[in-house]
């Protein structure tokens, strides 16, 4: 089947079998390998991307459900000049270790900050509760999200 969708602002088309997940579409058709395959059943959040601005597990959507919709992946966040404030603050604080959870973590945080520019610590924790990290213990991830929120409030 053919699917037309927008990925990181660009119109794309793919011909894929109907049982293709969004995750597989991104990684294997468009070589956008930022979204990771972790559990493949919705538990870990490593495959998180934004669909029409909302964080979803791309392993739990069929590509056919994306017809006409807009997907944002980690590859769409930085531009040639600069990183996104979330990316910058994750780097500055050394929030990640192996980095496997990073793309999903940052995209979940992005949805949060777009809806809630001044989140509490608890709200940050709630927003990333579906993103498991096996390395860090989360402390610096939560701090980086709070720092990025502050930076984005000061210079929107």
């Amino acid at each position: 089947m053919d699917v037309e969708l927008i990925i990181n602002g660009e119109e794309k088309t793919a011909s894929i079998p109907p049982e293709t997940t969004l995750l597989k579409l991104l990684r294997e058709e468009f070589y956008l390998t930022g979204a990771k395959t972790g559990c493949d059943v919705g538990d870990c959040g490593a495959c998180t991307v934004l669909v029409d601005g909302e964080a979803v597990n791309s392993c739990l959507m069929l590509a056919g459900q994306l017809q006409g919709r807009s997907v944002e992946t980690i590859e769409g966040l930085a531009n040639l000049e600069d990183f996104h404030p979330l990316q910058k603050n994750f780097e500055d604080l050394g929030s990640l270790q192996c980095g496997f959870c990073g793309p999903g973590m940052i995209l979940s945080a992005k949805q949060l900050l777009e809806e809630n520019p001044e989140p509490t610590k608890q709200e940050i924790q709630d927003a990333i509760a579906g993103n498991l990290c096996r390395c860090t213990g989360y402390t610096k991830i939560v701090e980086a999200v709070a720092d990025a929120a502050k930076e984005m409030r000061e210079e929107p």
Partner: protein, 288 residues
Amino acid sequence: MRPFEFIKPDSEASAIELLGKLSPNVRILAGGTDYLVDLKHTADVPKTVMDISRLPELKGIDEVDDGLRIGAGVTHTEIMQNPLIKKYAPAMIHAAHTIGAVQTRNLGTIGGNLVTCVPSMDSGPTLVALDAEVNIVGKDGTRRISLTDLFVGPRKTSLKSNELLTEIIIPKRSLGKPANFYKFGLRKGQALALVNAASSLWIKGGCFKDLRISIGAVAPVVIRCLKAEKYLEGKKIDEKLVKEAGNIAVTEAKPIDDFRASQSYRNDLIAVLVTRTINAAIDLADKD
């Protein structure tokens, strides 16, 4: 995943027509947070998967003549953000918030939660405590049943393979009814309930009126605790009686014993959760 055909009707009417034509070789896909997981692990793949996740008729939350109508395709996130739910059934917001994590709530629908029909479903108890009903549409028309009649057994409902759950109705008499939901899992995030419970009640002349108690994860389906309800109905509000109702509720359940928790621990949880939800609903109620 094994191959299947994918179809995406653009209206409820065409979805029902297609279901009628293709059943039993067709399965419905809403948010996919239950069904895609199944599809990845089963050899029993239908010929056709029909996506209803964006059907406009299954969306929306509206005040209607007989109460509050919640489209089956409404996501848990939409429930959490809806002003009518906040006004008339705020316990549902709390229940929705305990489901999975943001990603699951952004995709997962209330209809999918009810139709999957696992005993630990977190939208069940509150809706049962509010006497919710569901509308089911098939090629022979629409039928309205009480939510408790939808639940047949673990992962089994009274829906036929050519029927669509279209909406959930909270009857007018339950709108604004003081109610509380409580979920106990091993962690706060991403954990199924060991036990969940909801209670709703009015207080008239200092006495319990129309008390409803519902518990989940401790019987083959979400159940109402009719004996505990009867015990308190019409009696004067009294902490000791509420505690006793918790003990009675335990006798109405049949929790399992597994690696997550023993049967006796689950029994203790039932008594505590039933007591807590009743007390929380009492705190919310006008006492005249």
